[in-house]
């Protein structure tokens, strides 16, 4: 033999070098050599991504135990590969040949076992699963109902849904989205209920995503939604499995992106954003009452400031005596026109909200007090803004926060601005015109080729029964 080293060992060392090179010699790569029947095999793994105790127990122990047992006959070299595959205690074992793929799987927390003389590498998943426990989502609280929430782990999320669907034909489809950095995604639907036309459309949209990398469900939403020129979300994102489940059983499709606790529900209608899983835990007329209150809150949040503007600066005739005098006194020394008053106060409100939202809660409370109480009273006492305007803006803000899904509330507050502009120019006519524009806009909107404003347009009396009203089942 010309060389001391067998060619096969030489092979795997090259392979290891190749892999390391592809990973830019990252120090995180660890190798470990083990001898199987005097053959030098090499394991490669990313130190941070694997669960060491798991691979000791499930991979090394069985292999060493098996090959070191004394009564073992010498196994033929070519057989070793298969033998190893069968003794490792792991759910799924893959083999890869290309360096690129190997690197990719390395990054996903796999252990790579290279055996001399074998072109393919054995890939054993031993991921380091440091998962958050399942907890109730902070921003979607309910009073009555289940207390679990989605986590960052894809499989946990699927599990949460699957567990709720033991009796239905829940189908899961795997996708990867993003051209470069591929993120795993799962599409879930109930076979018997789903609208297959919509399913086809969604699949084709998922396949056609052009973005290089998609990491958050928000980005994914932007890539697949119908119309980006609107404040209305066309995809509902939720962290609540019970809500997702409710939509699944309505024939909607759920899209879960890896590392995202927000799960996307599609196609949705406008009214989905004003429903809460609570509704079904309450008596039906209580549920109905709350649904109607929420829809009214939508209208209040949009039109209240503009209604005030148009009444005060255009149609004071419409006010009865007492109210007119009260308003007249309030506005006596206010230097701003109602329109600018409203705009300023809306902006102040948004500032307060933005300032307090990301702060730790004790500080946020302080901001709330300082902002809400101190600024509020001071601004009125300084005669910059009228009392009534503060009431109007506060009511608007509260009404916009009523929406059970946060995305909608923010959109609604934005929408109030064009309303205010038009009413400031045309009074009631501007108000009705902008409301008509809103209705037209909602009718034109589509969520995955399904009408967004559904039970109202196209009108479906039976549909109304379950969106406006929470009817008895």
């Amino acid at each position: 033999m010309p060389s001391k080293r067998p060619s096969s060992t030489y092979d795997i060392n090259i392979k290891v070098d190749l892999i390391k090179k592809a990973m830019f010699q990252s120090d995180d790569i660890k190798t470990r050599t083990l001898y199987i029947q005097e053959m030098q095999c090499i394991c490669i793994y990313l130190d941070s991504m694997v669960d060491k105790s798991s691979f000791e127990k499930n991979v090394f122990d069985p292999i060493l135990h098996f090959f070191n047992s004394e009564h073992l006959k010498k196994i033929h070299k070519s057989d070793i590969f298969h033998r190893i595959s069968s003794i490792i205690q792991s759910a799924e074992i893959k083999t890869e040949q290309k360096t690129q793929d190997i690197v990719q799987s390395l990054r996903h927390g796999n252990l790579i076992l290279l055996i001399p003389g074998e072109k393919k590498a054995i890939i054993i998943p031993v991921p380091n699963t440091q998962n958050r426990t399942i907890a109730e989502p902070e921003n979607e609280k309910i009073i009555k109902g289940s207390r679990d929430g989605f986590t960052e782990d894809l499989n946990t999320n699927v599990f949460l849904l699957q567990k709720r669907n033991k009796h239905e034909n829940l189908v899961t489809k795997n996708f990867t989205v993003g051209r470069k950095a591929q993120t795993e995604a799962r599409l879930l639907y109930i076979e018997d209920l789903v609208d297959h036309e919509v399913l086809k459309e969604i699949v084709s949209r998922l396949r056609n995503i052009k973005a290089n990398k998609i990491q958050s469900s928000g980005e994914l939403e932007e890539q697949i939604e119908d119309n980006s020129y609107t404040v209305f979300p066309q995809v509902l994102s939720t962290e609540r499995p019970d809500r997702a489940q409710a939509y699944l059983s309505e024939g909607k499709i759920v899209l879960i992106l890896d590392e995202n606790p927000q799960v996307l529900v599609l196609p949705v209608t406008f009214f989905s954003f004003y429903q809460s899983p609570d509704d079904y835990n309450n008596r039906w007329f209580v549920g109905t009452f709350f649904r109607i209150i929420r829809l009214v809150s939508f209208i209040i949040a949009i039109i209240l400031p503009s209604l005030y503007i148009s009444v005060v600066s255009f149609h004071t005739e419409i006010l009865p005596l007492g109210l007119l005098y009260a308003l007249r006194v309030q506005t006596e020394f206010v230097p701003l026109t109602p329109f600018f008053e409203a705009i300023t106060m809306q902006v102040v409100l948004e500032l307060l909200k933005e300032a307090s939202i990301r702060l730790p809660s004790p500080i946020a409370q302080t901001i709330g007090v300082v902002g809400g109480l101190v600024i509020g009273t001071a601004v009125v006492e300084a005669g910059l803004v009228s009392n009534v305007m503060i009431v109007v803006i506060a009511l608007t803000a509260i009404a916009s926060f009523v929406a059970p899904v946060n995305q909608m509330g923010t959109g609604v507050r934005l929408l109030a601005f064009p309303f205010m502009i038009l009413s400031n120019t045309f009074g009631f006519l501007g108000l009705t015109a902008s409301f008509t524009l809103l209705i037209i806009h909602l009718c034109k909107l589509k969520s995955f080729d399904r009408p967004y404003f559904y039970p109202l347009s196209p009108l479906d009396i039976n549909g109304i029964k379950d969106s406006f009203v929470r009817s008895k089942k």
Partner: protein
């Protein structure tokens, strides 16, 4: 996909009543006071019967060509060249009518709501809303109309409030005192208020239910519109006395003015913006059909919508300058509307029977 979705019965009904109910009703008691006086409601009912007759004739014509749009139908019956001329006339009519509605509504708004705002601004606002809707497909338009019909219901509810004013039923009696000739004169005026039914001609091909059901729906919508018109006119006559109606430009709007409640005064200020929405939205239907006389790609049709919108706006600016130009405009429109609403369909009907042209069931 959804573009080809046909119009259902209820959608057709709601669309028709909104196109047919216009600003005309608001002036109607005043114009009727000049002729039929307290018997105006008889004139309206007679006008309704006339409309019914005409829509039956329309139906007879349309039934023979269930899948052709009206613009194709003229060509089919009269041949390409003559049909083209007719189509141009119809096109002009559609554009002129939308301009007319726009002018009238903007005048109305200026009269009651916004005295100092210039016409160009009011007109632009109203037209912009219309064009925004118009640049979609018929299905969307119909859906929007379905929702907006709530505003008509709301207006009818508002009208119940006016019963709290003193009512003088004797203003209506004795029935028939103004004589047949005056009632007939009033019929002509009332007919103008009921215009809008000609849109049936364009709707047949996209309706889901054709044949007898279609006739039933359009008859019901006509009855509904006539009933609303009679109802509003009668309350105007009962609440305001004849001498007052004679003085008032917009009796039906004025009727809401003396109403006051603990939380709200001046119901007329709410009534008018609510009323103006369905009125102005009927422009959408006219511009839509004016822009879709050739079935081409939807993108291209949107382009036509914008162009037609621009034309309407320019015409609007020209005619809204003074009352005289508006009256002149109304006169021209009146004569062309006779041609389009009555003559052309009759000619078509006649020819289709004489030449025995009929769409072959495919």
């Amino acid at each position: 996909m959804s573009a080809a979705e046909p119009i259902t019965k209820s959608q057709l009904f709601l669309l028709l009543i909104q196109v047919q109910i216009g600003f005309g009703i608001l002036y109607l008691p005043n114009t009727l006071q000049q002729t039929a006086k307290s018997d105006g409601w008889i004139s309206i009912i007679l006008a309704g019967c006339t409309v019914q007759l005409v829509i039956v004739l329309y139906w007879l014509l349309l039934r023979r060509f269930p899948s052709l749009s009206y613009f194709e139908l003229t060509k089919k019956i009269l041949g390409a060249h003559l049909g083209y001329i007719f189509n141009v006339i119809i096109y002009i009519y559609l554009i002129l009518t939308s301009t007319y509605i726009l002018i009238a509504s903007s005048k109305l708004v200026k009269n009651v709501l916004l005295t100092f705002s210039p016409h160009w601004a009011i007109g632009f606002l109203l037209l912009a809303v219309c064009i925004y809707l118009c640049s979609s497909n018929l299905q969307i338009i119909v859906r929007v109309f379905t929702i907006l019909s709530v505003s008509i219901m709301f207006v009818i509810l508002l009208s119940f409030l006016s019963f709290s004013l003193p009512i003088e039923v004797m203003n209506l009696t004795p029935v028939g005192s103004s004589g047949m000739s005056n009632i007939i004169k009033g019929l002509k005026e009332s007919l103008l208020a009921l215009y809008g039914f000609e849109i049936i001609l364009f709707l047949y091909s996209s309706a889901r239910h054709k044949g007898k059901t279609f006739l039933k729906v359009i008859t019901f919508s006509n009855i509904f519109v006539v009933a609303i018109t009679v109802y509003l006119t009668v309350i105007a006559f009962v609440i305001l006395n004849p001498a007052m109606i004679n003085q008032l430009k917009l009796p039906i709007v004025y009727m809401f003015r003396p109403l006051h409640f603990t939380m709200i005064d001046r119901i007329d200020l709410i009534f008018l913006p609510l009323w103006s929405i369905p009125v102005v939205m009927s422009i959408v239907v006219y511009i839509y059909f004016a822009s879709h006389w050739k079935t081409t790609a939807p993108k291209k049709n949107n382009y036509f919508v914008y162009i037609n919108g621009a034309i309407v706006y320019v015409l609007f600016l020209l005619a809204s300058k003074s009352d005289q130009s508006f009256e002149l405009y109304a006169k021209y429109l009146n004569s062309i509307s006779y041609v389009v609403i009555f003559m052309i369909p009759f000619i078509l009907l006649l020819f289709s029977y004489i030449l025995k042209k009929k769409e072959h069931p495919s």
